[in-house]
């Protein structure tokens, strides 16, 4: 199946599905009188995928199957489109794999003494015994199993529309998904994946993501220059390109 074949049905699919997304209400008050709802715009078809030219990164934590999943998932969470390169091109998979070897991924930054109460109300914060490394391992396995139960293909082998649909269901964490997720709540898995993908899209390139500072360039973040003495009061577009900690300019 070529990209071209996928894209038209996908666009239609997205148009319909976007209207079904429960509105993510940023505001939590009932004082809605002055709240304006922006209408989500339909996503555009992705342009031809930019070539990933560099030597491929070899993951050190993820297995081949897991690596395929990570690549296939981040590519949908922040897709390449007319706004520019996405999480895949930015190196988010490399970033996530590298993070798996940090104290963060083994939960060493958190208070992990028991007893645990994983069913506590969300406002009690993180109460799970699971740490990021476990959540990826368990979450990817569960998602692939769920995917295979659907049509025999692993998540990474699904077309992009199906992947989007699956990610959306993980995000919502509905009962039809939860049934396939014994060991890890799908929402927890999705939230971690999305958070880490955004980190990989927007972090300084020293961490392995945001290659070529594509994330920063897309939004106009100047990076590690951090000097705005001349620009504080000016209602103008800031002119200099992003710069990384290592000193590369976008």
């Amino acid at each position: 199946m070529s990209d071209q074949d996928q894209d038209n049905p996908r666009r239609d699919f997205l148009r319909k599905s976007l209207t079904l997304i429960p509105v993510v209400t940023v505001a939590s008050t009932g004082l809605g009188g002055s709240m304006l709802m922006a209408t989500p715009e339909p996503a555009q078809a992705a342009p031809a995928k930019p070539a990933v030219s560099e030597k491929a990164y070899e993951p050190t934590y993820f297995t081949a199957e897991e690596w395929a999943f990570i690549n296939a998932a981040v590519e949908r969470l922040i897709p390449a489109d007319e706004q520019g390169p996405g999480a895949l091109e930015a190196g988010a998979p490399e970033y996530i794999d590298r993070q798996m070897n940090t104290p963060y991924a083994s939960g060493a930054l958190w208070f992990m003494q028991g007893p645990f109460n994983a069913d506590a109300a969300p406002e009690m914060g993180w109460q799970s015994k699971l740490v990021p490394k476990d959540i990826y391992r368990l979450g990817i396995a569960a998602t692939d199993a769920w995917s295979k139960a659907f049509n025999g293909k692993a998540f990474a082998a699904q077309d992009s529309a199906t992947r989007d649909d699956m990610l959306r269901r993980l995000e919502a964490g509905g009962s039809e998904v939860t049934a396939h997720f014994e060991a890890v709540p799908p929402k927890m898995f999705f939230n971690l994946l999305l958070q880490n993908t955004k980190e990989g899209f927007f972090c300084d390139p020293i961490h392995g993501g945001n290659k070529g500072m594509v994330g920063w360039t897309m939004i106009g973040f100047p990076g590690a220059r951090a000097d705005f003495m001349d620009w504080v009061e000016r209602n103008e577009q800031y002119p200099f390109p992003a710069v990384s900690i290592r000193g590369e300019r976008a």
């Binding site: 001349d230 200099f240 000193g247």
Partner: protein, 432 residues
């Protein structure tokens, strides 16, 4: 809960000391600060004045000697022995000292100051048993007799300092300190091939304090009246402030001078600092066409508009402008100005390249305890980028320094000989 009494110095002599002698020792301590004896005669992390600091010289490494009143040091030195070493460059053993010991300058120290110094080193300094270390200079260069010949040729006769005729007594005092104990010329006066300073006083001509060739990666800049690379743009008051605190409104101390401020200058009285400053300000410019800095606003205006096309400008914007500003003025007393700053316009750009590569820390002084650190950029910038940005700084805002090339940066990256930031010597000044 009693308040602490902090003694300026402790007495280490076992015999009783009269009040007059206490004053003399105290004066000697002050003069030892003026002479910055501790800087060379204390090893990294070592006991004060016990020697052992390695000094790189063109012919090999030499080690400073123990000058504490222990028998491994000056313990059995009479006043005459002490005087022969300090003012004449001849050790008790009869051998000539390496001219790293600035006896050609110390020759100008008065007899009464010598008595005070002797009293301090014999009774005000803690004796430390520590054998002197031989130099690493290979034979035959290690033979000391050629040094005697050098001494005969270049060291001046010891005589009472002659004040310049009709001079302001303050200038005269300044000359005594600068040309004598302060031995400023040891670094700031160029040396001939035979290693002697080309001039030992203002009366010896324009070479005196006109700036040195690079030493340990730094240029000791000209202290003469030139605006471009001397002290022409400095006021007497700024100089006093600089010597006392290591900083002035538009400058900050770096390189070897940091140690001088920390160990020596900050202890000088306001009167002596004023004398030093006024004397230095009396030295005329070397360049007969010397002119005051004319600020050129072109670069600042371009950067304000977001135009960084000038070569080196983008490196400057990404690395330097946060502190030194797009207008090159820096921030008063905190981050030095680059516009019109003489240290960035010296003929040899070694100091500027070195500081871009390796950064530097402004030392804490009693009157100005804040330390500011300029980070190193060697890890972040290529030789070409350093050359670009150094050339940009030397040629912007009205600066008139010549551009530099990448190979000059490459040489310095390899040859950087800076061994100490001075911090490790800090405890010496704190405890006495």
């Amino acid at each position: 809960m009693k308040a602490l009494v902090i003694a300026t110095f402790a007495l280490f002599s076992s015999c009783s000391v009269s009040a007059a002698e206490t004053d003399l020792i105290k004066q000697g301590e002050y003069l030892a600060r003026a002479g910055d004896c501790v800087a060379c005669h204390t090893a990294k992390g070592g006991k004060p004045f016990a020697g052992g600091l390695p000094m790189e010289t063109p012919i090999g490494v030499i080690y400073s000697t123990n000058i504490t009143p222990d028998k491994t040091g000056l313990g059995d030195y009479s006043f005459e022995d002490f005087d022969k070493a300090v003012r004449h460059g001849v050790a008790k053993s009869g051998s000539t000292l390496y001219p790293a010991m600035p006896y050609p300058s110390y020759a100008r120290v008065s007899d009464s100051d010598m008595q005070a110094l002797y009293a301090y080193f014999m009774k005000g300094v803690e004796p430390v048993a520590q054998q002197n270390k031989d130099s690493d200079i290979p034979w035959p260069l290690s033979m000391r007799w050629p040094l005697a010949a050098w001494r005969w040729m270049f060291a001046p006769a010891v005589e009472a300092h002659q004040a310049q005729a009709a001079a302001d007594p303050v200038v005269s005092r300044g000359a005594y300190l600068v040309e004598g104990l302060g031995h400023c010329g040891a670094c700031h006066t160029p040396r001939a091939l035979t290693m002697q300073e080309k001039a030992l006083s203002a009366s010896d001509g324009n070479a005196f304090l006109s700036g040195s060739a690079p030493l340990e990666g730094w240029i000791a800049k000209s202290l003469r009246g030139d605006h471009k690379d001397g002290l022409g743009s400095w006021s007497e008051e700024q100089l006093v402030q600089f010597l006392k605190t290591g900083r002035s409104d538009r400058s900050a101390v770096f390189g070897g001078m940091s140690d001088v401020v920390v160990h020596s200058m900050q202890y000088m009285s306001e009167d002596d600092l004023t004398a030093i400053a006024r004397y230095l300000k009396s030295l005329p410019a070397v360049d007969p066409k010397d002119q005051a800095h004319q600020y050129d606003k072109q670069v600042a205006e371009a950067l304000w508009k977001g135009d960084d096309r000038k070569p080196g400008a983008s490196v400057y914007i990404d690395n330097c402008a946060a502190c030194h500003r797009t207008d090159g003025h820096g921030y008063t007393r905190v981050f030095p100005a680059l516009a019109g700053n003489p240290v960035v316009q010296t003929a040899d750009a070694t100091s500027l390249i070195n500081i871009v590569l390796n950064g530097g820390t402004l030392p804490a002084t009693h009157a100005a305890p804040s330390t500011f650190t300029m980070p190193a950029f060697a890890w972040r910038l290529s030789d070409q980028e350093v050359a670009d940005v150094v050339s940009f700084i030397r040629g912007s805002w009205g600066n008139k320094g010549a551009p530099v090339k990448a190979n000059e940066v490459a040489d310095l990256r390899k040859n950087d000989m800076r061994t100490t930031s001075g911090d490790d010597l800090g405890q010496v000044t704190q405890r006495h």
